[in-house]
Amino acid sequence: MQPSLSNPLRIGLRQERVIPPQCLIIFGASGDLTHRKLIPALFDLYLQRRLPSEFAIVGCARRPWSDNEFKEKISSKLFEKISDNKDEWRIFSNYLFYQPVDLQNLEQVKDLASRLSQIDKKQATHGNKTFYLSVSPNFYAGGCKALKESGLIEDPKKSRIVIEKPFGRDYSSARRLNKIVQSCADESQIFRIDHYLGKETVQNILVLRFANTIFEPIWNRNYISNIQITSSETVGVEDRAGYYESSGALRDMLQNHLTQMLAVTAMEPPGKFDPEAIRNEKAKVLQASKLANEIKPWECCVRGQYGKGGNISSPLNGYREEKGVNPNSTTETYIAAKVFIDNWRWQGVPFYLRTGKRLPKRLGEIVLTFKDVPVHLFESTIIDPSPNQLILRIQPNEGATFKFEVKSPGSGMRSRPVQMDFSYDESFGEPSDEGYVRLLADSMLGDPTLFTRSDEVEAAWKLYTPLIELMENSPWKLPTHKYESKTWGPPEADQLLAKDNIFWRRP
């Protein structure tokens, strides 16, 4: 008999929270994120029977499409996903509506309001609305104002706004944007999304730390020598040059995804599992974080830009040769930074964060390296005994590995490193949901736990302010070093750690 594909005893057992009747309005519905992430995530929720029958998705963009055109566009782009679930898609597509809206045009937003009340009646969504701003960040402030002026977010219990990253370009713009958004809606209505927090493995850091007794007592400066947080991509800028040229790796990845991983790794235990308790602790740890050298930030940060690479049969363009990129661009596609956290738990422990495009592997991981033993009693089979390491793999092969020393077999007493491994695949055998599935459901449920609060966003920008100012005022002090495509960044990034007698983990 063939082994079952999924665990039959697991079917129907998971008690997911019930999403109340809801109308989800996506601004930027003609964009990439909508068909690549949002609609597939919503369809997944539908397939998991987690959407209520009283539901509607209203796509909004400037294009003058009809409901049917919108449905056709979406289904043509999701061909592969739909082909296995044609019947389900047919039913799901009844939830799809479209309304042409220019968020800068108040009249059109008001027209949207009357269309929404018709849809609300038709779909019995009880007036519950979630507005998803999947538009250029330039429209966040104006969009929120238009929603307020048209009365669409009047009821704080029935309406929410989900805002994509990047939230601001620096500390002052993030503060300004927060003020505007908060003048339009209550903070409890605002859901700033960071899809890394939707990843099962990032949430698992909280469980690993706070549901076990063995980790928390050693999760501090007494036992940990350094922490490395890496998020690497193999792809280049692809067709996002327009956005990426003005953002770079710092704004695209470091300030949000990596800093959120830092917060979850370093935060204090919350008093209870409650959205505000968790977000308080994250905000506190971010407020205590600072660059290792704020006076000379160039000494604790390295920027890089990928150059050519590959081989004769499949050459790879350098960043400056990519379509839409300024041939003299100094935008960083790689950044590494050293950060300290000024609190009792982490005083003196360096956190090394790095992210880049066109690196050899697609990878997300957090590596906690423990301090060396005080005395080496045993000779090692390699040069020195390796320090213990706990590696939390965010992607791919999600899981955790613990490295420790054991006696090497034989008559001598020599030690060698081995590893204990936990893999999501081997333990659970089922793929975890995309981050957007979890976060879309949470936003419609009104659960802000995995969304960043205004003070967290501001603290994250403040942390990198010395770098941003340096890049804007004296960019020559923080040059973008070239690195060959498909290598682990510029050699200067290795130097950043070598100064502390540490090396990046080569995954």
Partner: protein, 433 residues
């Protein structure tokens, strides 16, 4: 004791004036506060045991409807002292009859309907209606009404308020006049739950009267004659009503623990070779054991072929898709301690046989405590590859289980439970024909 929900004593009003009074109350309260937009909860709250213990001066009043540790201890002592069967439930008729026989007729204040666990009140039920039948000699039906505003630790907004109504009197009177009073108090558009917080043997006519409408039912099949329990479930499912059973909910940790064993893909093949299943239960009430077996057989596509009751166990035979037999047994284990929830599962053993060589076979044991695991290991099981886990039977209060249900239920019967009820009924019929 559960926290008191209302700060003021509920006002006694004639039944016909309640509806009007509540409308007036909400209008005068605050023009923007229309009360919680949530659900109504009707609770059948007889607390027969508490009433009888108070009347016999075995515990002090007031009567609150809470199954307190004091009530549990006193009742258990009575069962042991009066040599009632050890498997007697705290809701058993024998126990209540015994108490009523020596009724001292002591009076105590009746505060039923005013005490709810905060886990329920913080869900902001819009209307809480307590049906409080009494064994007093007085025959008049009394109705009380009050508003309440539970304060949340987090809410920055003004509290969301609801109201509560208590209908107190003889069961017959409640059965006769209650439905009309409740009908007048129903709030359109809001779901209404009926929680039968008593044995299913209690007042069947009242149960039928109140469950007739399209309300979502919460029952507990651990208490009540097994046939009555199965028939109630069957009837509810046939009439397409939503039902939630606390006896099924208490089985959750067993379902989860068993499923967890087969999460790693390399363990799943074991499921294709299961040949024997043993379920040990506390006492003789078999409903929860039937649920567990029905759930497993449903998920693994086993078809029932035969079932019989033997002297000290029940045997049920299934056939797998490939025609191979699976023998399951329900074993009653006397524990010498009266139970609040009779028939709770305390042990589960699955044997997966691929060879005559025991070392290649697998035995999975789940036990409520390690002693139970050791008991199930006997008879050569330890020669097989053993997978063992302890699933402690830590029960939450019924109020706590009900609050979880109210917070998460979609308002229909879970498909998992619906299938389980159908298969359990089939097995029950096969056993008792």
């Amino acid at each position: 004791m559960k926290p008191q929900l209302t700060l003021q004593t509920p006002l006694e009003l004639p039944p016909e004036e309640i509806s009007k009074y509540l409308k007036q109350l909400w209008i005068s309260e605050n023009e923007y506060n229309f009360g919680a937009n949530t659900f109504s909860l009707i609770v059948w709250q007889p607390a027969w045991l508490e009433q009888s213990l108070v009347k016999n001066e075995l515990i002090n009043g007031p009567i609150t409807g809470t199954l307190s540790p004091e009530i549990i201890e006193t009742a258990k002592k009575l069962i042991l002292e009066n040599r009632l069967p050890l498997s007697s439930s705290l809701y058993s008729n024998e126990l209540i009859d015994l108490l009523n026989k020596n009724n001292q007729d002591c009076d105590a204040e009746d505060l039923r309907g005013q005490f709810f666990e905060s886990s329920i009140s913080t869900l902001n039920p819009r209307r809480l209606i307590t049906l409080a039948p009494t064994n007093d000699k007085g025959t008049k039906l009394k109705t009380f009404v009050s508003a309440y505003c539970p304060l949340s630790d987090y809410s920055k907004n003004q509290p969301i308020c609801g109201d509560l109504v208590v209908i107190r009197g003889k069961s017959e009177l409640i059965a006769e006049k209650g439905p009309e009073i409740i009908e007048n108090l129903s709030i359109n558009d809001l779901p209404t739950w009926l929680w039968w917080n008593s044995s299913l043997d209690d007042s069947p006519n009242v149960f039928d009267n109140f469950s007739r409408n399209g309300r979502r039912l919460i029952i507990d099949t651990a208490n009540g004659n097994e046939e009555r329990c199965i028939n109630v479930l069957r009837k509810i499912i046939n009439s397409k009503k939503a039902v939630n059973d606390l006896n099924w909910i208490r089985l959750k940790s067993w379902r989860e623990s068993l499923a967890m064993i087969f999460d790693p893909p390399k363990k799943r093949e074991i499921l294709n070779h299961i040949s024997e299943v043993d379920v040990d239960i506390e006492g003789e009430h078999i409903i929860q054991a039937l649920f567990l077996i029905a759930w497993i057989s449903d998920k693994l596509n086993w078809q029932i072929t035969y079932a019989t009751k033997k002297s000290d166990f029940i045997e049920i035979e299934f056939s797998r898709e490939n025609g191979e037999k699976v023998i399951t047994n329900i074993n009653s284990i006397p524990l010498g301690n009266p139970s609040i929830y009779p028939g709770q599962v305390i042990g589960l053993r699955l044997i997966s046989k691929v060879s005559d060589d025991p070392k290649r076979n697998t035995c999975i044991i789940l036990g409520a405590e390690s002693a139970e695991c050791m008991r199930l290991e006997a008879g050569g099981m330890a020669d097989m590859q053993l997978i063992e886990a302890v699933v402690p039977n830590h029960y939450f209060s019924s109020d706590s289980d009900v609050s979880k249900l109210l917070a998460s239920s979609r308002g229909n019967t879970s498909p998992l439970f619906e299938n389980t009820i159908n298969i359990s009924s089939e097995i029950f019929d096969a056993i008792y024909g």
